[in-house]
Amino acid sequence: MAQIKMHLLVCGGTGCRASESKRLVDELNAQLKANNLDEEVKVIITGCFGFCEKGPIVKVIPDNTFYTKVKPEDAEEIVEEHVLKGRKVTRLLYENPETKEHVSDSKHMGFYQKQVRIALRNCGFIDPENIEEYIVRDGYAALGKVLSMTPAEAIDIVKKSGLRGRGGAGFPTGLKWEIASKNKADQKYVVCNADEGDPGAFMDRSILEGDPNSIVEAMAICGYCIGATKGLIYIRAEYPLAIKRLQVAIGQAREFGLLGPKILGSDFDFDIELRYGAGAFVCGEETALIHSMEGKRGEPTIKPPFPAEAGYLGKPSNVNNVETFANIPAIFLKGWEWFSSIGTEKSKGTKVFALAGKINNVGLIEVPMGTTLREVIFEIGGGIKGGKKFKAVQTGGPSGGCLTEQHLDTPIDYDNLVAAGSMMGSGGMIVMDEDDCMVSVAKFYLDFIVEESCGKCAPCRIGNKRMHETLEKICQGKGTMEDLDYLDNLSKVIKDTALCGLGQTSPNPVLSTMQYFRDEYLAHVVDKKCPAGRCKALRSYVINADKCMGCTLCAKNCPTSAITGDKKVPHVIDQSKCIKCGTCYEKCKFGAIEIR
């Protein structure tokens, strides 16, 4: 067999697959074969590179060339130019948005420069469907190391590392393990929460798609530490690719004796099963998740008892999310000292964020705790799309809040985000610009919460519905000052009284926008104006008499006959008749219709 001289890594994450990366792979293979290069050059489908904005991505190893937005039609040129002749295809290289220079090596791209990849360490580097590639990169070495320690010693390392849960509130992972390990039972469970439900967050899926073995390994480590022989991964049914890759990883791990009885020759038995979610955001809450795994409605129950005491089937269960587990093998391989040297005083290590919204570099990034929002948004994220003005960044999904300009230099960690009225959540980061109406954004999140509330407790079931209705009223221009007081009181009461973590944090988007964008609320309520022009009912369409040619097109199309005027004479809109449908705005060929 010929020696492999070159690897072409093609992103096989969901985003890039949607952009036909599968056909690109077929095309690359065909071209290689046509040039008799298929023995020497290997195309590997990897997990997500993170830089989704520029997908599909092809990375060439060993020279680290990073091609962006590659189409199947480009395969021929890549093979002929780069593979055969060693000349880079410049037009496919990343272009630095400021200098307009082409950057060939990903190491020199702003998007990657500030990143430190622990949880995402293998994503984009290995074939996630081949356990050997994981093993080559020290995979399962951490498990081997842990099996030579006592569970208490291993837990101590996790505790000392300072790792906190990456799924929401940031409970110390080592402490959680310790509690579960101390509860005696004939059967315990390790549960991986892969029910990533925050809209705009996809880090867990990327990890599962790009490096499923790291989760399998970490769960086995956890099982050893807490004395569990069974692991369950609760994963969204909407993630077919992640499910498939997990199944492959679990199957291969069994073949390699890394799951099953007597792992690595020890006395430790451990195996993993998959459980599927069915579309309920609240199942991200651990008690709800456990009920869902038991085949029940995913309603949360009051804690205590905590899952560590009575979880799945009433047995002690330790629930961690995907990203938390992904950090575990690295901590054992490189030591807790190394891990805890990264980050801030109370938040150690890194955090993966899903950057999305009005930002140039949409994608998945991993940065040390303590990185500022400015670094994330402007350096890694490449700033705001279309040169617009930054307005806010929403972190933490529906449980989080909107942060503003004044927070840009705040180092990101659990406590700072909470202090600013938001939270880490699972790490969604949605950037908004001047065109976004913050009242509408708050309404958007409430809409989500209302849709996803389980309905068990009154404050969340009814309170959020009333909040949503009130915000709708405000967006319709019918809001009053009393409505603002009502929102304020309801938010606080829901925070204080809702049953589960999701309910308790559900008012955060409203509270934070009311705090930081009160002027915008007042504009809606008092002036009946939407400064961002997003709220339809608050727009007014007027005809600029200087630009109007009197062509009558707008008048003909107006569904309510609100526009009048003679031919070749500037027209006028009767505001009392106008229903703000925007038809005139779309039809006018002269740009004479303006939104005020």
């Binding site: 969901t14 439900g197 809209p199 705009g200 085949g295 409605r297 949409v362």
Partner: protein
């Protein structure tokens, strides 16, 4: 609600699914996933049959079916259109795209076109935020949408 008539062959299919999970009530969600996979939706009689096999009250089955948005009691269209209304898609104008789909298809969210060809639903985040706004038709993802592209996409079907 539907004209579904449970035949003996359907009973056998449901029994096989339940058997494959050892008729374990705790496997209800997995059973429903498989069953919906076979029938496309979960009509009343199918739920009764599942309850019968798992030896649990059908009220429980219905309670679970109505809790999870993935389960449906209405048949979907031949091509199921799911528009992402995640935050990333929302801030990039998914609502306008949704309006256009409604206009083109003449149906509301949750409905099926009279010819049964399309159904329209919303979902929250498929994780392709880089391509926002995104729509799924069957398994195929269409990204970087704007209202002007809707007609063209539908023409493919």
């Amino acid at each position: 609600m539907s004209n579904f008539k449970l035949q003996d062959c359907h009973k056998k299919q449901i029994k096989d699914i339940c058997d494959s999970f050892n008729n374990e009530p705790g496997e209800l969600i997995n059973v429903l996933h498989k069953t919906q996979g076979v029938f496309g939706y979960l009509p009343e009689d199918v739920q009764r049959e599942v309850a019968q096999n798992l030896n649990i009250p059908v009220a429980k089955v219905y309670g679970v079916v109505t809790f999870y948005s993935f389960f449906t009691m209405k048949p979907k269209g031949e091509h199921a259109i799911s528009l992402c209304l995640g935050t990333a898609c929302y801030v990039r104008g998914a609502e306008l795209v949704l309006d256009e789909f409604k206009k083109q298809l003449g149906i509301e969210v949750g409905q099926v076109t009279p010819d049964g060809k399309f159904s329209l639903d919303c979902l929250r985040c498929v994780g392709a935020c880089g391509l926002a706004p995104v729509v799924l038709i069957g398994d195929k993802v269409y990204g970087r949408l704007d209202p002007s592209k809707v007609k063209e996409i539908l023409a493919n079907y």
